[in-house]
């Protein structure tokens, strides 16, 4: 027999990332108490970090963590046998007699996702709880990623857990009749986590990249748990296709590189392949929804070897379809961009008129770009100025400044402002 390989810190870290939510959800079901389960799982990982370094990873790290955590919790309950409240809570949530087979574990994670994203919790709490309980992120990490003081985030999590307990938010998978309403906030939370990581309005960059990775991981878990939901596949595809462009998205000086100017050879081919396959698979079901359509739009972009080879006609048709599900002005703004490509900048500009997005920097950036193309330079410069003031994001701002300089052109070329 060969000696087991010693596990490094990164092995333990990887097991932690992959198995935290699984282990926690099993123990929440067993004991009916989120805090108790969290302490148990955290204790188990602390022990694992020491033991695995010497003895190597056990054959089933997840099973080891669950068993160790369970024993720690039982020890603790025995020590605190005089505290009947814990037992009483356990009775509320406990689903008796379920064997701990893979199927049960699967359902446990799904239960926990639906509990964390219950519509009776505020969206900001849903996000925090999901990252904490399913992703195993610490309160500090979540606070840093969302640029919120740690104390605020800690209070948010404590309050959300108290509401689950006090209001009696159940730990179960919704019935199929409830599912459409209940799945929506789950997908919204995952996409919000992803966008927070990707769009990076401000804050620690590494913490934010973690958010993208975590959102994709949660998306993969959800697809595995609910393989019959095309929108769930659409959501994962959408995140993968957007994340694939990350390497091409910022220039050397950290400024934003727009899609039309990205070096497409830098796009991640594995993520694109996976994303496109998912898009094809969900479109075959023929139950379209907003995530699938957005994924399809991104799949069209990822199909084009160069920006000029983009099939804008198809993208425009997809935006028309998306507007049926989501008639928000932001979708209309994106449709206007596609329209400008299919027809001309004039048509795009006309489509922007009346959109109630005056405080949204992207509206002004798009209008500026279209005006520039029509050689209406002073108007373009004015719009770039508005856009620049409205964004908090450094890399977007520096992109807008460059674009403004280009639009302003050499002094002799500007139409009215030459000094």
């Amino acid at each position: 027999m060969s000696a087991p390989l010693k596990a490094g810190a990164s092995d333990v870290e990887q097991v932690f990332r992959e198995q935290y939510g699984r282990a926690l959800s099993v123990l929440v079901r067993s004991f009916g108490d989120i805090d108790l389960a969290e302490e148990g799982v955290q204790d188990a990982f602390t022990i694992a970090a020491q033991r695995w370094r010497e003895a190597g990873l056990p054959p089933s790290p997840a099973g080891w963590i669950i068993t160790t955590a369970r024993n720690r919790i039982l020890d603790r309950l025995r020590r605190e046998a005089s505290r009947p409240d814990r037992q009483a809570q356990a009775a509320v949530l406990h689903q008796s007699g379920e064997p701990e087979e893979e199927l049960a574990v699967r359902d446990d994670r799904l239960r926990l996702i639906f509990t964390c994203c219950h519509p009776a919790l505020a969206p900001s709490s849903q996000v925090a709880l999901t990252l904490r309980l399913l992703g195993g992120l610490t309160t500090t990490e979540i606070a840093r990623a969302f640029v919120v003081p740690e104390k605020t985030m800690a209070q948010r999590i404590v309050r959300a857990k108290a509401k689950i307990r006090e209001a009696g938010i159940p730990y179960r998978v919704p019935s199929s009749a409830e599912l459409p309403d209940r799945l929506r906030p789950v997908m919204a939370v995952i996409y919000l986590v992803f966008n927070e990581g990707y769009a990076a309005t401000s804050g620690d960059r590494l913490a934010r990249e973690d958010l993208c990775t975590e959102a994709i991981r949660l998306g993969q878990v959800l697809v595995a748990l609910m393989p019959d939901e095309p929108e769930v596949m659409g959501l994962l595809a959408l995140m993968l296709l957007i994340a694939a462009r990350r390497p091409a998205r910022s220039g050397l000086d950290d400024s934003l590189v727009p899609l039309s100017e990205q070096d497409r050879t830098l796009w991640d081919p594995v993520q694109i392949h996976e994303g496109q396959q998912l898009v094809r698979a969900c479109l075959r079901r023929n139950i379209p929804g907003p995530y699938q359509i957005q994924a399809a739009i991104n799949a069209v972009h990822s199909d084009a070897p160069t920006a000029s080879a983009t099939n804008w006609r198809q993208i425009l048709a997809l935006y028309d379809q998306l507007l049926v599900f989501d008639s928000s002005p932001v979708v209309a703004l994106n449709r206007a961009v596609a329209l400008a490509e299919v027809e001309d900048a004039e048509a795009g500009l006309a489509a922007l008129d009346g959109l109630p997005l005056d405080t949204y920097y992207l509206l002004h950036a798009v209008r500026a770009d279209l005006l520039r193309r029509l050689d209406r330079r002073s108007e373009a410069v004015a719009e770039y100025d508005v856009a620049r003031v409205l964004t908090d994001n450094e890399s977007e701002r520096s992109f807008l400044e460059q674009a403004r300089t280009t639009a302003a052109g050499p002094p002799s070329m500007t139409d009215s402002e030459s000094s």
Partner: protein, 118 residues
């Protein structure tokens, strides 16, 4: 089982609803109450007269102080309540959805403290 309070907040001085609308709400609520009772979820329900009819009583030492009007000076007061029994929040929210449809007003759901056993 947990007991939940379903309350209907009303804004003082809000324009009165049309008679037909009110009639519909009465009938809807009556049907909802029957449904609650036959499901065994009913504990109590009732509508309240305007908050201006309220009196607040304070017992301070040996003295009792009474003041005219409601305790809170806000513009909103509870117009009616149900107390129901439900297995969990989802069940309570499902009843609240029916209640809100029946009475045509928003419904607040709030759990009661558990009654200690023994």
């Amino acid at each position: 089982m947990t007991q939940y309070l379903l309350s209907v907040p009303m804004i003082d001085g809000a324009p009165p609803r049309l008679p037909d609308d009110m009639q519909q709400a009465y009938e809807g609520v009556a049907r909802f109450n029957v449904e609650l009772q036959s499901a065994g979820a009913w504990v109590f329900a009732g509508g309240l007269l305007p908050a201006s009819s309220a009196t607040v009583v304070r017992a301070q030492g040996g003295e009792v102080l009474m003041t005219d009007g409601p305790f809170t000076e806000s513009k909103e007061h509870i117009g009616g309540v149900w107390i129901i029994e439900a297995i969990d929040l989802d069940a309570a929210l499902a009843w609240a959805t029916k209640a809100a449809r029946a009475c045509g007003e928003p419904v607040e759901v709030r759990p009661f403290q558990e009654i200690p056993e023994g």
